[in-house]
């Protein structure tokens, strides 16, 4: 029965699209006439389809407010997503407006050419940074503190009628830790560890890459072939293999597994940085000013840090953003699989793994799925934000290509 309805809607939309174009061609607006005359049918259909999707979203949004509980449950997440999208869009717009009018001439100019996605990205990164740095002051409870006498309760909102506890706005997890506090500390741990790993990867990859570019010869050959081999193994698989080995070593040496993870991922990721640093370095090494510095008798350290590094900053910075995303996602995946950041530390990947099962109860109580989705969403939001900013930076540096 449903299929007939879908077919009827499709046929109706096809008819509407044709009508839309025909009506447009009849109209007598000078500036639109050309547009409608040359419009292929598919474009007209696209307009109608877009309109239909908007109308459906509008309808679904009000279904989410329905008094009928079952219907409201069904559209609850769509409603939240729509509200979230609008709030983020407004926040990004206000932030861009703020940036355009406050600050030095340089930043004002930067904000003037900024698309909304990029300002959203910068705003999000700033918020994450604030949470990560001041986690201890913002979080109401400690990340490891198990609050005695509190029943496990993952219903957010703290409404006593629904069994919530107003002291814990997002509820408590299976062993009675405050979920909100753990989410906030997660910003510190997950983002902090990912950041440290990326920095380490850049130090390793950058140093060896520049060295290979400057010295060349057998060192370059040796390092490059080694990197080729390491890059031939899929990174997540290799990380998992090394983590298995590290998990045997860690208790014997008394070093936390998380330290091993940072080093392992940094080494695996530094291969990609090495490739870029070497390529960029090789382009710089042939410049005349390097030749001049060599003739002056400058040492290797001076060449790498004072001559090559300043000239390679721009491409490396854009790469830093992308690398950070990869590292962040790898760490999240490892934690999700249970071999990443280890338990007493609050971490988003682990939280998703622990609370993920509650998604299955969303049909009856949509709020039950909030905690795992928030943790997973926090990871997604940050990587999306960084990607938006990097996308904008790359587009800006490549000029108006198209």
């Amino acid at each position: 029965m449903m299929w007939y309805w879908y077919l009827a809607v499709l046929v109706g939309m096809c008819g509407l699209a044709w009508l839309f174009r025909w009506k447009g061609q009849q109209m007598d607006w000078s500036e639109f006439n050309n547009k409608f005359r040359d419009m292929p049918y598919s474009v007209a259909f696209g307009y109608v389809l877009g309109l239909a999707i908007l109308l459906w979203l509008y309808w679904a949004y009000f279904q989410g407010h329905s008094l009928h509980q079952e219907t409201a449950n069904k559209f609850f997440f769509l409603r939240i997503a729509i509200e979230g999208f609008i709030i983020f869009a407004i926040a990004a717009w206000v932030f861009r407006l703020f940036g355009r009018n406050v600050g030095t001439a340089g930043t004002k100019k930067l904000f003037r050419s900024m698309p909304l996605t990029a300002s959203f990205g910068i705003l999000t990164i700033l918020i994450y940074a604030i949470f990560a740095i001041f986690a201890g002051a913002i979080a109401p409870y400690g990340q490891e503190s198990i609050i005695p006498g509190v029943a496990a309760n993952i219903i957010p909102g703290g409404d006593p009628e629904l069994g919530g506890n107003p002291d814990f706005p997002l509820g408590t997890d299976q062993i009675g830790r405050d979920i909100l506090s753990r989410l906030i500390y997660g910003a510190q741990n997950t983002v902090g560890i990912a950041f440290a790993t990326t920095v380490l990867a850049f130090l390793l990859g950058g140093t060896f890459g520049f060295l290979a570019a400057t010295l060349g010869g057998w060192l370059d050959q040796l390092l490059s072939r080694a990197v080729d081999v390491l890059m031939a193994i899929p990174s997540l698989i290799f990380a998992l293999l090394l983590m298995t080995i590290a998990s045997v070593w860690a208790p014997q040496l008394g070093i936390p597994l998380t330290v091993f993870m940072v080093v392992i991922i940094a080494v695996i990721d530094s291969t990609r940085v090495y490739r870029l640093a070497r390529a960029v370095g090789q382009n710089i090494v042939v410049m005349d000013y390097i030749e001049a510095a060599k003739l002056r008798g400058e040492g290797l350290g001076y060449l790498v840090f004072k001559e090559i590094l300043p000239n390679a900053t721009a491409p490396l910075l854009a790469e830093f953003g992308l690398r950070f995303c990869f590292v962040f996602l790898t760490i999240a995946a490892l934690s999700f699989l249970g071999v990443g950041i280890q338990p007493p530390l609050a971490d988003w990947g682990t939280m998703v793994r622990d609370l993920g099962g509650f998604v299955n109860f969303a049909q009856f109580a949509p709020m039950a799925a909030t905690a795992p989705l928030l943790a997973a969403g926090a990871i997604a939001l940050l990587t999306v934000a960084v990607n938006f900013v990097v996308d904008w930076m790359l587009q800006k540096s490549s000029g108006l290509k198209e």
């Binding site: 997540l236 698989i237 293999l241 995303c325 999700f336 998604v359 799925a369 990871i379 198209e402």
Partner: protein, 330 residues
């Protein structure tokens, strides 16, 4: 044609060499472990006599190089060794089907993973190419920007986030597909497809973004060429210009990126299989990592690496073959 053949043979040789070195890396990494296999099998309370006898049985008293060649020889014959877990965990893991060697354990799971990858490819490749063509056709419009934002979002979300979102909307709130993929042998094909639909859709979301962006970029790159302008001046429709004139020339980078993304699927499959409890090789890998079942980890790692290298090799060779200048040298 001889020219191409030499290049391809060179690539093949290089691929084989890489594979050999990768196997050495994996073997050495695993053998860096403190203690040894025998202790790991017997546990801490093992007597020195028992350890010595097991070491003799498994040939662990041989030097490292000898053992490597024995292991490699075994792998080439399809003998991947014996899992630690079969002795200790087989009774309650519930997965034992009388399998005693790793090869027997892996074989059905490998088939399942391949099945999942093929379904994903069957959905993702046409979808992303069509989306890429449309985005190139209507570039810089609302449609293009919306697709751009959508693909950027899906490419930068962790796999498990996408998986849970799909479970939430397509399995829990609207029960269309099952959220658990309990696949077993002898299942009818349609049911199998239905059960692996959600993992396949998740993987599709993960790989589509990259393929679609590359398709769009490859086509747009070509649009500035003189012969495209000629086609446009002839009065061809934009769709025809792109499909008939631009697409065949953009095929090389597109094929390349498809093969690379299939290689990426191999990595992405691990997390997705865990979320959906899909009985594939990725899940076995993660389970073995958790219980430190070193021989299985080693074997899975080798299989993943082999698949990865083979697909990269295919990408290389396909892009050589799709270049007419190399196929027909002057």
């Amino acid at each position: 044609m001889g020219n191409v053949l030499t290049i391809i043979l060179q690539r093949l040789a290089l691929g084989l060499l890489t594979l050999l070195i990768v196997s050495i890396v994996i073997f050495v990494a695993v053998n860096l472990l403190p203690g040894n296999f025998a202790e790991a099998i017997l546990g801490q309370g093992a007597t020195p006599d028992a350890i010595a006898s097991i070491e003799r049985d498994l040939g662990l008293d041989q030097p490292l190089v000898t053992r490597y060649f024995q292991w490699l020889g075994g792998v080439l014959r399809g003998d991947l060794g014996t899992s630690f877990a079969q002795a200790n965990f087989a009774s309650f893991s519930g997965t034992t089907s009388g399998a005693t060697t790793i090869a027997e354990q892996i074989a059905p799971r490998f088939g399942n993973t391949m099945f999942l990858a093929m379904i994903t490819a069957a959905i993702a490749v046409p979808f992303s190419i069509i989306l890429g063509i449309l985005a190139a056709l209507y570039r810089n419009t609302v449609f293009d920007r919306a697709t751009n934002i959508f693909t950027l979002t899906s490419i930068s979300s962790p796999e498990f986030f996408l998986a849970y979102i799909l479970i939430l909307f397509l399995a829990v709130l609207n029960p269309i597909f099952p959220s658990l993929s309990n696949i077993f042998e002898g299942m009818p094909f349609s049911e199998r497809v239905e059960k692996s639909m959600l993992p396949a859709l998740t993987l599709t979301l993960v790989v589509t973004a990259h393929m679609m962006r590359m398709t769009r970029a490859a086509i747009i790159n070509l649009l500035a060429s003189p012969y495209i302008e000629m086609a446009r001046l002839k009065g061809l429709s934009p769709m025809r210009v792109i499909v008939k004139h631009a697409l065949p020339n953009a095929l090389a980078p597109i094929i390349n990126v498809i093969a690379l993304n299939l290689a990426y699927l191999i990595t992405g499959v691990v997390v997705v299989e865990v979320v959906f409890v899909y009985p594939g090789i990725g899940q076995l890998f993660v389970d073995s990592v958790k219980i430190r079942d070193i021989p299985v980890v080693q074997a899975c790692c080798l299989i993943f690496a082999t698949a990865f290298i083979l697909l990269n090799l295919t990408a290389d060779i396909m892009s050589i073959l799709s270049n007419p200048r190399l196929r027909h040298p002057k």
